[in-house]
């Protein structure tokens, strides 16, 4: 057990941490730059959807009545699940950087389980809403609801596929040096998916 206290500011170990003050542009690894470019394009996708939702909602006062039928408790539980999965993903990256294979396997496994739980809860929620007649064609609000949460769920599914692949590689102890970078990139994507939900939850369920 290490006696050092490791903070978010000093995760250390393994991959060289970037330093905005001393490193030049070339210090950014190409893979990290690539995933941030990808995430920037994803901001446009979800940002455009969210902007459309906000404007349409402002234009149609009747949406408030429709929005009251969503299950905010289920949404809150799912938010907690996804926030926790971000914690386990971050801890997985720290384990990867420290070369702790067993801990990486454990934390990646927990992240996968939490992601699967999120999708399972979402599917249950969809079934409740569809059973009450709130299908994607039930109104503009429900169209937006299923589009935004469905697109987000697809992203969670993609993240699950990547994390599962990394979990298998980590469990077999293969590709260890490269795996650290891959866990970092998968983590960036996973946290982004979490950030998207952080905005979707209050917009759809609370406001």
């Amino acid at each position: 057990m290490s006696s050092s206290v490791e903070t978010v500011d000093s995760p250390g170990l393994g991959i060289a941490a970037p330093n905005a003050q001393t490193d030049g542009l070339r210090a950014i690894p190409r893979g990290r730059m690539g995933i941030w470019w990808f995430l920037a394009s994803e901001i446009m996708v979800f940002g455009g959807l969210i902007a459309s939702f906000v404007l349409e909602r402002a234009a149609h006062g009747g949406w408030t009545a429709q929005a009251e039928h969503v299950h905010w408790v289920i949404g809150a539980i799912n938010t907690l699940v996804l926030l926790t999965s971000s914690l386990t993903m971050a801890l997985g990256l720290r384990a990867a950087r420290a070369g702790e294979q067993r801990r990486l396997v454990t934390f990646l496994g927990l992240t996968i389980l939490l992601g699967a739980a999120f999708l399972g809860i979402k599917a249950f929620e969809y079934s409740l809403e569809i059973a009450r007649g709130f299908t994607p064609l039930a109104g503009l609000f429900w169209g937006f609801y299923y589009t935004m949460t469905g697109l987000h769920a697809l992203h969670v599914l993609g993240g699950l596929a990547v994390n599962s692949t990394l979990w298998v590689l980590a469990a077999r102890g293969r590709l260890w040096p490269r795996l650290q970078h891959r866990v970092e990139f998968a983590g960036l994507y996973w946290h982004f998916v979490d950030v998207v939900w952080i905005f979707l939850f209050p917009l759809i369920y609370l406001t």
Partner: protein, 97 residues
């Protein structure tokens, strides 16, 4: 081996500490709707909490605060474009409704 539950003595947040803040903000966001304030004020408060939560995740879990300035621009440009889209469409929405 570092524990996720390790406490930090005034030098920054642990990953677990960030998670605690995220959960606290989630609970606060739910609690504002029982406060005797208008629905609009509550909605603005909740969206404010969402901004703080997103900032916590991006800066601490995605480590953006230790990244090169260029990556900040990469994030800022699409966010700005989305805001421009939002503002640019407001007159159109107002005219039709």
């Amino acid at each position: 081996m570092a524990s996720p539950l390790e406490e930090v003595s005034g030098r920054g947040l642990t990953y677990f500490g960030v998670w605690e803040w995220l959960v606290a903000l989630l609970v606060l966001g739910l609690a504002v709707f029982v406060l005797p304030i208008s629905r609009t004020a509550a909605a603005l408060l909740v969206l404010g909490f969402a901004l703080v939560k997103a900032g916590l995740v991006v800066r601490n879990y995605m480590h953006l605060k230790r990244e090169h300035l260029l990556l900040y621009f990469l994030v800022a440009v699409p966010v700005t474009l989305v805001l421009i889209l939002l503002v640019a469409l407001v007159p159109d929405i107002a005219q039709h409704h």
